[in-house]
Amino acid sequence: MAVRDQMTSLERWEALVRGDDLDRVPCLQFILGHTAVVNGLPIAKAYDDAEMSLACQRSAMEMYGYDGLVLHGWANAGGAEFGGEIEYPYRKYTGAPMMNKNPVQNEDDAWALRVPDDILSVGTIPIAHEFSRLQYEAGMNVTIQVGSPLTWAGSVCGEERLMSWMMKKPDLVHHVLRVITDFILAKAGIWVREFGPERIMAFDLCIETNVLYSPRQFETFAFPYLKEIHSKLTEMDVAIICSHICGEQNKNIPFWSQLDYGKRGFISVGREVSITAAREAFPDHVVMGNVDPITMQEGTAEQVLELCKACVLEGKDHPGGYALMTGCEVPPQAPPVNVYQMVKACREYGQY
């Protein structure tokens, strides 16, 4: 029998944000498609329908008993906002929105890239905006995706084209990154004005791994733009800044640790970056991670519980705070009992 909680999820979340004492390690989730699946809906509903997405995420949170997060976004974002063709995951085996045609196909397209006049009308922004409005009305934190610019540039240009230009036409890549960064900052400004900075949780999903890019390439093409966005979000008094540092990014961590997260940031790391390494890099911020998503889908409940226990014990005494989370999005088809193991592990092994 699991240990009884002493705080509600809301109390635990708010205490974590403030840096107050907690009853136990919180369980936060990066979870979208799975919440639609357990509600008996197509995965796409977590993405293309703001009202259903929010309802699915809230009901899954209540059912499992985890403490957050509720958000609208995905890794391969950005392309649709500049005119790309997006496909939502209705077909079998699809798991997240896909770019079927990148808006930038050649150098002329790239040089012509501009921030659209009416940001609220382009691509998936109307859905994201509606999602945020519903969060606001429900008294929740309002989430907004803010990059990363290099990840979005892959969605805008196509990853291979972008990589070739990084080597041969770096000025062109910097132009694309400049436009995307301006777009993200303009979008953030709209959100801050409408919902107030004190309610906003800005998050970036960043797939610029060291499987793809060298730390030098990260420093040149990712870091300056991330730094600018984080600094300006802090200047806007955005309440919470969160990064999902996806995949193998051990060599990029020294750059991530230089970013401005305000008083208390939230940093999620993949299974490839140890919780200990994240604790050392972010001593004052909340570290989240890093349960292996593959085990979440393919493993037994016992294996997942053991994995979660190891994460909880590695992270729970982090001075900046720690929350159990998967190392990337919870697989949509993960057995529900495996998702529950995360909450169970926090209750059984994460007591303070």
Binding site: G33, I43, P89, R91, K92, Y93, T94, G95, A96, M98, M99, N100, E159, E160, M163, S164, M166, M167, K168, N210, V211, L212, Y213, S214, Q217, G247, P293, I294, Q297, E298, P331, P332, Q333, A334
Partner: protein
């Protein structure tokens, strides 16, 4: 160093540097100098890509460097391959490969790198692209009398397609070796699902393909 050796060295360096202009001009120079096109490919272009593969495995270069090296390689191949095909003597034929990113998956950088390394190894490649229906893999293997089927997945949802279809693939293609790869895949899962091979990265995949075909180029 003879003129021929100098041209071949220039081709190798052009691939290593990712310089498609020099790769093309050096390949034209090789033709003009009377170097056998197949020799120019194997002794000029391929060593450059092999060196880049070594550097990638050692963490000395990354995917952008591989991408531009591939562009240089293909710039040279565009000139030399039609001529080499016309005089096929000595042409390596490591086997026939059908390759693609599986149904529901549009991530194809890894698949393209594996394709590149397999081409360097002398395989005949039939690239089905991305988001390939599982049934199409079987049909294309039968059409091309494939020796090897390579499937990639980058997502937890699409890896299930491989798991679900593996029995059907093995039943329909008993003589075809099946390799799988991609971020969520591991040797353990490849073994569990009955795949014949797995590659941690593109060079490893090429090495495994050669092992399955009982040939050696990357060692």
């Amino acid at each position: 160093m003879s003129d021929a050796q100098s041209i071949l060295a220039q081709m190798t360096k052009a691939v290593e540097d990712g310089d498609e202009v020099v790769a093309a001009s050096a390949s034209e120079a090789a033709v003009a100098a009377g170097i056998d096109p197949q020799e120019a490919i194997l002794e000029g272009l391929v060593p450059g890509m092999v060196e880049l593969g070594r550097q990638y495995e050692a963490g000395e270069c990354y995917v952008p460097e591989l991408i531009v090296a591939a562009e240089a390689l293909y710039a040279g191949l565009d000139i030399l391959q039609p001529l080499a095909t016309a005089s096929a003597e000595g042409k390596r034929n490591s086997g026939v490969v059908v390759i693609g990113a599986v149904q529901g998956d549009v991530h194809d950088i890894g698949k393209n790198l594996v394709k590149l390394m397999l081409e360097v190894s002398g395989f005949e490649i039939h690239d089905l692209g991305r988001d390939v229906p599982m049934e199409q893999f079987i049909e294309e293997c039968q059409t091309h009398s494939a020796d090897l089927l390579c499937m990639s997945s980058l997502m937890t949802t699409t890896m299930k397609a491989i798991k679900d279809f593996m029995p059907q693939i093995k039943a329909a293609l008993p003589d075809v070796k099946v390799m799988i790869g991609g971020a969520p895949i591991s040797q353990r899962l490849a073994d569990e699902w009955g795949a014949d091979g797995y590659g941690e990265n593109a060079v490893e995949a090429a090495r495994m393909a050669e092992k399955l075909m009982d040939i050696r180029a990357w060692d």
